[in-house]
């Protein structure tokens, strides 16, 4: 099989394709071992939320990535509030910060010398 080999690793699209097909095949085999008797359109195919009805905005119940570091953000709320305020999303603001910080660095370098 042709591929790219270097001192940093190897790349072969055919090998990756075969791996992908193998993983999909294993997935289908595992799926086929499951319960086939589920009745579509009934409660058996609905989400289980401890017996509660699924809300229309079910996304609000999902555990998102930011929930994992919620405590850190909450603990440093004052810091994050100031830093977020600086992140305006306007390019000219960021360019001004870059120029300003660069100027400060130059001043420090000039003083140190």
């Amino acid at each position: 099989m042709n591929g790219i080999s270097s001192g940093f690793g190897a790349w072969n699209p055919i090998a990756w394709a075969l791996l992908f097909i193998g993983v999909v095949a294993i997935g289908f085999v595992l799926r086929s071992l499951g319960n086939k008797g589920y009745k579509r359109g009934t409660g058996q195919t609905k989400v289980f939320l401890s017996g509660n009805e699924e809300p229309e905005d079910s996304g609000a119940l999902h555990v998102r990535g930011r929930h994992l570091y919620w405590g850190m953000v909450e603990g440093l709320a004052g810091y994050y509030r100031r830093v977020k305020a600086l992140h305006t999303g306007i390019l000219s603001d960021y360019a001004a910060w870059f120029v300003g910080v660069l100027a400060v660095v130059f001043v420090i370098l000039a003083l140190v010398r």
Binding site: K39, F48, G51
Partner: protein, 146 residues
């Protein structure tokens, strides 16, 4: 000693407390502890009715639990068996005709096995679950899809 034929597969049980005082719930937990250790037979609690073969229900059905019990019953795949543990779930017990309950479990969903007691002993609960296996095997033979 070989296991009886009724234990040919693992039995997954979903436990619901619909308003119990937790006495029966503690006895269910006792059935899982090393003294009785039902997991050696493949009987184990599952966290979702979507994977359950048996619903194990304790307590009378309180009004807030009524829609939840119906929903959980609907979400359990067929074939399924319903086991009620404790006098409150079987008949209403001390909460008989209470204005806070809608009655015993069989007034809400069909019940297959009744395990009376206040609370039921672990041996009785295990016996009820084993009877549920028999019910499930009967359903399977009858062709109820699983």
């Amino acid at each position: 000693m070989p296991l009886p034929r009724s234990f040919k597969r693992a039995l997954w049980v979903f436990h619901i407390a619909t308003g119990s005082c937790n006495g029966c719930d503690i006895e269910i937990v006792a059935a899982l502890t090393p003294r009785y250790d039902v997991e050696r037979f493949g009987i184990m609690l599952t966290g979702t009715p979507r994977h359950a073969d048996v619903l194990l229900i304790t307590g009378p059905v309180t009004r807030p639990m009524l829609p939840r019990l119906k929903r959980i019953y609907d979400q359990t795949p067929d074939p399924k068996a319903v086991v009620v543990v404790g006098s409150c779930g079987c008949t209403g017990g001390v909460f008989y005709e209470s204005y806070n309950t809608v009655g015993p479990v069989d007034e809400v969903i069909p019940v297959d096995i009744y395990v009376p007691g206040c609370p039921s002993r672990p041996e009785a609960i295990i016996d009820g679950v084993v009877k549920a296996v028999t019910k499930l095997e009967t359903l399977e033979k009858a062709g109820v899809s699983g």
